[in-house]
Amino acid sequence: MNLDKTEPTAVPAAIELIGVSKSFGPVKANSDIHLRVAKGAIHGIVGENGAGKSTLMSILYGFYQADSGEIRVNGQPVRIRDSQEAIRLGIGMVHQHFMLVENFTVLENVLLGAEGGALLGKGKAEARAKLAELAREHGLEVDPDALISDLPVGAQQRVEILKALTRGAEILILDEPTGVLTPDEADQLFEVLRQLRAEGKTVLIITHKLREIMAITDAVSVMRQGRMVGTVRTAETSPEQLAEMMVGRRVLLKVEKGPANPGPAALTVENLTLRDGAGVERLKNVSLTVRRGEIVGIAGVAGNGQSELLEAIAGLRRPTSGRILLDGTPIPHDPRALREMRLAHIPEDRHKMGLVLKFETRENSILGYHLDHRYGGALFDRAAIEAECQSQMEAYDVRPPNSRLKTANFSGGNQQKIVLAREFERGPHALLIGQPTRGVDIGAIEFIHRRIIEMRDAGKAILLVSVELDEIRSLSDRVLVMFDGRIVGERSPEADERELGLLMAGVTGAGERGAA
């Protein structure tokens, strides 16, 4: 353990946790956690899915009460019974899933819970002035009168931060803040965090992306299975060392894959155009081919038509024109028939689409395949379903391997494994894979990436969509770049990152090579 004992004790730590423990039934989410977060620092927290990071932050923010242990804020022992108390102590939190009222304006959201009287007029004027001031100081520009639902996610997150700051937060907790951001938005967020640090505020940030840890934090704490493994100074560590501390073994941060052995075309998209309900063209004349035994990656900033493309191929959206062929035959607009044609689909958003979170996991293990005669006749054959789920959980090391647990109660990485196991284990011929590692820890990322490569090497045709350029580059055999509903270019995965970045931003013309 290399806890930084050398920290000068004259200045009390912004936050100090002494022996904090918290259990959920038999699960020890946090056991005997010791943590010191220096004032005016950006402090990272990393750890595998289910390591207890969110639980620890929820204890700090008063969502949960620790079973035992002591919390000190600025040297003072405190009891944080609820989030009101946390706010009084100057602790603010930005949740991974924003807690904003969609049809309220920015100003109304900032005001919510701090109205300052029955009539809104005075509070509103004050909040407006405060917002303007904060925006000036921190570069947190948002239009106070814009509706939340009209704002991009990056701006919504800024509103969350503003909300915390207007309530006087001196310590800001961010739980996986970059999971939903574009690289650009993430950079802007980091700029804001650095600004806050410069003013002496303390930031606690949870992320699975070691690159971000290295880029922005001063110190980083590693958790594993509910315990604090250690805290190190960022300058004195490396991603490899952090990964090893997290997982307890060496982790391959780089994907190992041999050259592709592409066969005949399996999935062909011809001149696909798609207009959404509002009449906006989301896909504009998209054509592409995925051959057996290759991974075609689609790079692009979120919202440039990738989701629509995946959903159109998966039979969930009806294209306006164009054709989609699977092994030479036009596909039906029917997810069920497509599954029978052995097209598997890992949806981008596992909560929204890939899983029914309130189902028991064994029920989710057959979602989409529930009509299969293997699972019974008029009534379900429950033993068969149970066996199916057990074998999936075993093959994908889902933890805990409890088929009757509601899927909502698994950690993010394990939920993703549940989806992957269901779709991969049925021997598909072609795979649509959207954001396979969103919110997933590095150990699981390594595992998932390895499985995807294995599928490729087994001769499957794979279309991969991810907003993580690194992921696209390390997995794909060919990279297509999407911008504004079009495929604006094809590059090799070794192409210059800057060049890909420009293409993703819609700058075409420079250095055109190869054709789609």
């Binding site: 959920f24 899933h97 997810p335």
Partner: protein, 367 residues
């Protein structure tokens, strides 16, 4: 990603919480009773005695409960599909028409045990029919099912008033608008007659074989929801419609089927009063049972077993309440409606009143 949604042990979730909600409802009701100068304990005793104290009372309690099991199941099935079927009242009313048409048409020819199964089909078919149009409007047009089913309650009421006053009314000497009496041979025996040889005395209570049908229906709903593919699709749709679409569930079709089942269950409620009790179709026979079904489903957590228990509770309130109104003239019918309202309020709207406190007590040790 983890939200602070504490899980509680099952017995707390399905036993203690409903019980506490009930106790709270009765405590407030007791307060009101005390305010009008009656002794709440006295009142409680009369209600309990009226409902369970003697054979005939039990029979009446079971009779009312039968209605509520059917309408509660109807609401519960729709709930599982994410639909709020407010139309149980109208569906039951039209279901009564189905029962009556079968009975009026066939009672000269068939004994009760041949007629009853046909009446079940008639009730289910007509109830389903009345749910079908709102279902199609929801599935294909997106017209909100709450609005359309409410409107269909009114349409059912007008239609039936017309039919019972002007069309099916035998005319001569009939005081209340309704059809003629069915042939006595066509009416199934009451539970009191069936159980009398075994020394069980249910007095002159109207409880009849529809109770058996209701319990079988509950079993059927349980099988449907948790053991069949259709039930799986209904629940997937109710929890997460995008995931259901992803899984290839034909959404419009499942919405319609779920509503047809719901309407059929509501329609079958008519078997109890129409065929089993009065032996004729009377104006306004559902008497609000369709609405009580909403409370029953809420309280029973949309689980068939929960629905049966909740239906018994409401049956008790109905029967014990009538007894109370009889014994204590100072307590009017409105008072009973108030008590029922409080039960609905505490177990439906304020369902989560005690949850946070209990979560604090039980969650840390929860499995």
């Amino acid at each position: 990603m983890s939200q602070p949604a504490a899980r509680l042990p099952l017995w707390v979730d399905f036993g203690l919480i409903p019980l506490l909600n009930l106790v709270a409802a009765f405590a407030v009701a007791g307060l009101v009773v005390a305010l009008i100068g009656e002794n709440p304990l006295d009142v409680a005793r009369i209600i309990l005695y009226g409902a369970f104290g003697y054979g005939e009372g039990v029979g009446f309690t079971l009779f009312y409960a039968t209605n509520f099991i059917f309408t509660g199941l109807a609401v519960a099935v729709a709930f599982h599909a994410g639909l709020f079927n407010i139309g149980g009242e109208g569906q039951a009313y039209i279901g009564g028409l189905g029962v009556a048409l079968v009975a009026l048409g066939l009672d000269p020819y068939l004994p009760w045990w041949l007629l009853a199964p046909l009446a079940v089909i008639g009730a289910a078919l007509f109830g389903a029919l009345w749910a079908w149009i709102p279902a199609v409007l929801q599935a294909k047009r997106g017209s909100h099912i709450v609005i359309t089913t409410i409107m269909f309650n009114f349409i059912a009421a007008s239609l039936m008033a017309w039919l019972l006053v002007d069309v099916l009314n035998p005319g001569a000497g009939s005081m209340s608008p309704g059809t003629r009496f069915f042939d006595a041979e066509a009416v199934p025996p009451r539970l009191s007659e069936i159980l009398a040889p075994f020394g069980v005395d249910l007095g002159g209570s109207p409880a009849n074989l529809a109770l058996v049908a209701a319990v079988l229906a509950a079993l059927g709903v349980w099988l449907l929801l948790w053991r069949t593919r259709l039930g799986y699709e209904i629940r997937a749709l109710g929890h997460n419609s995008s995931a259901a679409a992803y899984a290839g569930v034909p959404i419009a079709r499942v919405i319609i089927i779920a509503m047809l089942i719901s309407g059929a269950l509501a329609g079958m409620m008519a078997l109890n009063p129409v065929l089993g009790d009065q032996g004729r179709l009377l104006l306004e026979f559902p008497g609000g049972a369709g609405f009580v079904g909403i409370a029953v489903a809420l309280m029973g957590r949309s689980h068939p077993l929960g629905v049966i228990f909740a239906a018994l509770l409401f049956g008790m309130l109905y029967q014990g309440g009538s007894e109370l109104a009889f014994e204590k003239p100072s307590i009017s019918r409105d008072m009973l409606i108030l008590i029922q309202g409080l039960v609905i309020l505490f177990s439906g709207a304020l369902e989560n009143l005690f949850r946070p406190a209990l979560a604090r007590i039980f969650a840390p040790r929860a499995a």
